[in-house]
């Protein structure tokens, strides 16, 4: 009887469950010039173009970690997840899950793995989620008693017990995503990839999903890799942060350390009174000073990056000098972070 150990959801803590080296992925697509000529030309010979999505990724993730993978749209997050899980092969480099090459995973390794794609449902659209889960039970060979228990627990935690028997297409986006997550954790996977699971959800749902993921990670020791294009998803959940930009790992390390290194920033967006005069450049220069940056400026709207500790005095200064109608404060926005990282790299 190996099932108990296999289904415990715990791999020995401290051992790498995932390792990759020099990982590259180049996609090939076709381009066609617009218009009738391009149409005819494409009919005869299509032009192949190469899209490098990953440009050399080195990474090692240990059992029990909760890793945030962050990057703008098109940075290569989804591609990285696909290559790491062996959905598509790497163009170059090595990638291993549980010590097996990602692209050659055995069924045993696949049973320990799970994936949630924010933009792609893995459940039957026209049936109740429960029907899909029963299928997953058979595919992953989960014992009935174990399955029932697990389903009950997860459904309660995700607050979807009532919806288990309602066809998926009648559920709200947030409920659907919870169902996807439920399905992904049913077989007690040791490694779970969640690719932008919060996309399109409202703030409350996002927060709840993050909390649940943290809990599952803590209690069951499942290794979780959570990708998002939004820093907020990662900030309070993950201990370790990966920043992906144009197919490269820009940062891999402790989230707290990163904050310290970069100081914590806030993006402050100001909307000025519509009929007020254009802000004086001299005033702006004065506002900026040493550690405040002007990010964008357009008619009636200004955007600054301000160290967290300086927010209060800065705002006092702003209200004294400018006719502010409205303002928004965003925490450590991704583009600011990435820009800072690039700057540091350039300096260092």
């Amino acid at each position: 009887m190996t099932s108990r150990a296999e289904h415990s959801g715990k791999a020995p803590v401290g051992q790498p469950v995932l390792r990759c080296q020099g990982l590259q992925k180049v996609f090939q697509t076709h381009r066609r010039d617009p218009g009738m000529r391009g149409l005819l030309r494409s009919f005869v010979a299509r032009e192949t173009i190469e899209v490098p999505a990953l440009r050399g990724i080195d990474l090692s993730i240990e059992a029990g970690e909760f890793v945030g993978l962050i990057g703008a749209n098109g940075a290569g997050k989804t591609t990285l997840v696909k290559v790491l899980t062996g959905i598509v092969p790497a163009t170059q480099g090595r990638s291993e899950l549980f010590g097996e090459p990602s692209f050659e995973l055995s069924d045993a390794a696949k049973s320990r793995l799970s994936i949630v794609m924010g933009q792609r449902s893995q459940l039957w659209w026209d049936l109740a989620p429960l029907d899909s889960f029963l299928l997953l039970r058979e595919i992953y060979r989960v014992e009935k008693s174990d399955f029932d228990l697990r389903l009950e627990q997860l459904a309660r935690r995700l607050a979807v017990t009532e919806q288990l028997r309602i066809p998926l297409r009648h559920l709200s986006l947030g409920q659907r995503m919870r169902m996807e997550i439920l399905g992904a954790f049913l077989h007690r996977p040791q490694l779970v990839f969640l690719d932008e699971p919060t996309i399109g959800l409202d703030l409350v749902s996002r927060e709840e999903i993050r909390t649940i993921l943290s809990e599952i990670n803590r209690e069951q020791g499942a290794t979780i890799v959570l990708s998002s294009h939004d820093m907020e998803d990662i900030e309070n959940t993950c201990r370790r942060l990966l920043i992906l930009s144009e197919g490269r790992l820009l940062y891999d390390g402790d989230l707290v350390k990163l904050r310290e290194r970069l100081f914590e920033k806030r993006a402050i967006e100001l909307h000025l009174e519509p009929h007020a005069a254009e802000p004086d450049p001299a005033v702006l220069a004065e506002l900026c000073g040493a550690d405040v940056q002007l990010l964008r400026s357009s008619a009636g709207a200004l955007s600054f990056a301000v160290p967290a500790a300086r927010v209060q005095p800065f705002l006092a200064q702003v209200f004294a000098r400018l006719a502010v109608r409205d303002l928004a404060i965003e925490r450590t926005p991704l583009d600011v972070l990435v820009r800072e990282l690039f700057q540091r790299e350039g300096e260092g």
Binding site: R32, L39, L40, S42, W125, D126
Partner: protein
């Protein structure tokens, strides 16, 4: 010169459809040519076996060569007939994409119509190539039109009949508002109409009363009728009978299509949006 907006839209959509067709080369060749070439061949083998088994020179009012010519002509013309696979409306309805037509200043049927125009253009081109190639490569076998008027009459009938098929398939697709999968319905309809059109078995092999009755249907006048005119088995003047039958079918199908679509859209819950 101001063009009616719906017409301009139709032109745009047709161009778009043409682009889509050529975007996937393999599919284009495969679907349009391989099928048109291979399918009738099997039927011809069948009839060769039938004639051989019987040792007869004439069966069903034609000798073997005549039967082969008829079968080729029928397959040739069938290529012009709007195909149910050209509409993915049912799928769109079920997935909930159709609600966009509720807010757009256009009718969904215009898009379908664009598909029909695109299909007619490409298929007439393919049929012309096939006709020239066939006449050159298989001089004794290929069904040569008895007269230019016969060719024209056959083309007009086929394209007009094809429009009936467009209406019919649009109508059946609209049933997706009520039923989950419509594809079986579409496949079977195609199947039955092809039988009624004399594609699987020439009408002359069918019992007399059945054959007579089928001559009042648009499937017959879309395919077998034009084939017979093309081969000179019917006078060219029969084109008017055919157009009359097709005209009546259109006057029945068009309002029906409208009503079903309207009703469907009205009851549409927009589920899945």
């Amino acid at each position: 010169m101001a063009v009616h907006p719906q017409v301009a839209l139709l032109l745009q959509a047709t161009l778009y459809e043409l682009k889509k067709v050529t975007a996937w080369r393999m599919g284009f060749f495969v679907r349009e040519i391989a099928r048109a070439l291979l399918r009738p061949l099997l039927t011809i083998f069948m009839f060769q076996a039938v004639f051989a088994a019987q040792g007869a020179t004439e069966l069903g009012g034609r000798d073997l060569d005549g039967t082969v010519r008829y079968l080729i002509a029928v397959a040739w013309i069938e290529g012009l007939i709007f195909h149910d696979r050209m509409l993915d409306l049912a799928e769109q309805i079920f997935q909930g994409y159709v609600t966009k037509y509720l807010v757009m200043p256009m009718r969904c049927f215009t898009l379908a119509l664009a598909r029909y125009v695109q299909f007619s253009i490409t298929q007439t081109g393919v049929a012309a190539l096939l006709g020239i190639g066939g006449a050159l490569l298989l001089p004794g076998v290929w069904p040569l039109p008895v007269a230019p008027e016969a060719l024209l009459a056959a083309l007009v009938l086929a394209l007009a009949g094809s429009y009936c098929f467009l209406l019919l398939y649009f109508l059946l697709n609209s049933i997706a508002f009520w039923l989950e999968v419509v594809w079986t319905l579409l496949v079977m309809t195609r199947f039955v109409t092809m039988f009624l059109a004399g594609v699987m078995l020439p009408l002359s092999w069918m019992p007399e009363p059945l054959a007579r009755a089928l001559e009042y249907g648009f499937p017959y006048w879309s395919i077998a009728g034009p084939a017979e005119i093309l081969l000179g088995e019917r006078p060219v003047s029969d084109v008017w009978t055919g157009l009359a039958v097709i005209g009546v079918s259109i006057t029945v199908l068009e309002p029906l299509r409208r009503v079903v679509w309207k009703r469907g859209l009205a009851r549409y819950g927009g589920s899945g949006m």
